[in-house]
């Protein structure tokens, strides 16, 4: 068994060596990984310091979503101001592609880092990110950081 079998013995040496290197397990939920900045999980509304949002109900995200899971219902007042009745978002169907965030011209959305989204009640799979709130004014915010966004916008 000197020449035939040496591969087997070498393989066993490799396994032993790997065992002595120690486990690489991260014991979730006691330990959690740091997510990188660009990690894409559930969509969130960006909030200013005073808690207000920047959504102007332009519906660009609703049109950009490939799976049509964003549903924004808007009522327009007589003075042409918009009021968002409901900004509905089906987390359960979202594939976290980030196209809605890229499409938003007002930098109102961001991909959150929350991945612990499991829930028991199927009703929780659809959330309202905004309810019964006036739409923000449609003047452009300070230029959104173009580096994090997709190529070009027109």
């Amino acid at each position: 068994m000197s020449v035939w079998g040496s591969g087997i013995l070498n393989g066993m040496r490799i396994t032993l060596r790997n065992m002595l290197r120690g486990p690489i397990t991260l014991q979730y939920p006691h330990e959690k990984l740091e997510l990188p900045e660009r990690a894409r999980w559930a969509v969130q509304m960006k909030r200013e310091d005073d808690g207000s949002h920047r959504c102007t109900a332009c519906l660009a995200c609703e049109k950009a979503c490939p799976d049509f899971i964003i549903d924004i219902s808007v009522t327009t007042g007589e003075d042409r101001s918009k009021h968002i009745d409901r900004w509905r978002y089906e987390i359960g169907a979202c594939m976290m592609c980030g196209l809605c965030v890229e499409a938003c011209p007002f930098d109102a959305l961001e991909m959150g880092h929350d991945y612990e989204l499991a829930c028991i009640d199927p009703g929780d799979l659809t959330v309202d990110l905004l309810i019964d709130t006036p739409a923000a004014a449609a003047k452009r915010a300070a230029a959104p950081p173009a580096e994090a966004k997709g190529g070009g916008d027109e």
């Binding site: 035939w4 079998g5 591969g7 087997i8 070498n10 393989g11 490799i14 396994t15 060596r17 790997n18 690489i24 997510l35 990188p36 900045e37 660009r38 990690a39 894409r40 950009a64 490939p66 594939m95 976290m96 592609c97 980030g98 196209l99 890229e102 499409a103 991909m111 580096e147 994090a148 997709g150 190529g151 070009g152 916008d153 027109e154």
Partner: protein, 402 residues
Amino acid sequence: MSDPRAQVEHAGWLSSVAPAQPSTRPVSAWGAVVGVDSLATDRLILNMGPQHPSTHGVLRVLLELDGEEVLAGEAVVGYLHRGIEKLAESRRYNAVGTLMDRGDYMSGIHNELAFALAAEKLAGIEVPRRASWLRVLMGEINRIASHLVWYGTMGLDAGAMGQFLYAVRDREVLLDILEDVTGQRMMFNYVRPGGVVADFTPTAEKKLRAFLETIDGYLDEHEALLGGNEIFQARLTGVGVIMKETALAFGLSGANLRASGVSFDVRKDLPYAAYDEMEFAVPVAREGDCFARYLVRMGELRQAVAIVRQCIDGLPEGEYTAKVPKVLRPPAGEAYASVESPRGELGVHIVSDGGPSPYRMRYKPPALYALQAGEAMLPGALIADVVVVLGSLDIVLGEIDR
């Protein structure tokens, strides 16, 4: 080579729904098929069903067995069909990438790249040099990750467990790098017509350089653990042989073709992105058996590491994407582009009618032809060989079923 389907008798409800050929089986035991020493034997129809630890996805293989030997095999696919080609007809060009990611999910970058190249051909978009290099870099990282999974599952198919976890350990680093750059570990949505979505990050570069320091040693270990193992060699040599002419007739590509002696690599013969600026070799074997395919893919792993090194060292400055309208409307026409994905030549053919979505997108999956060739390799093999053959072909059902 006769059509094995004629010999396989569909069992159960299939035959009641659509009775196929009249049964040639005798009714009584006296007239039954005679085996060794006049002992009556019967053929067994076994269903390696969609749920099976080794079918690399939801693949169903119907086997007609004589004891342990396979007389005929038939692969039944479609369990993972999601209508990617049809869905692409109602998506904007920048959103089709999300569909392509989910075709061959092990190598999302290559899928997106094939579509992006075809769309760029249609629309006449020129991609900046840095974007091409980034595409190559991410593509090769993806190739290493995909081949590591293939390596791990190849061992699992043969019965070994250790190497799978070592391969996964190495792959985790790559997935971290991919997540750092693109935002997701698997469904990247990174390559778009025009370029890429975002630039390479300094944190990703740091992780990548650390990875490149250790990967050669780890690859040596992986090769010694499986390829150097005599039992593994005995399981794989001489099994699932496919010769050059048959391989070409089946339309095989990638490592499956190169292991049969045909030196065809899309990156060398029909270069795209920045591959004409890269220096790398293309491993080719001659025997055409499972072990040859194993060796070719291990060679490809090494070459991919070499390409990654060249890319990260020589990444040019510039834009990471061209200026592309949000809603791309290429002029009417058609274009085909193919890339060398880890599975073979992955092609995308787009027919455009000038609208915001493709009129028709055809996704040519290399694994489909590999599976057909695999079906032809089954007669004469043992059950253990079926698993090994399917593993060595490196099929991914997402791409076969779309």
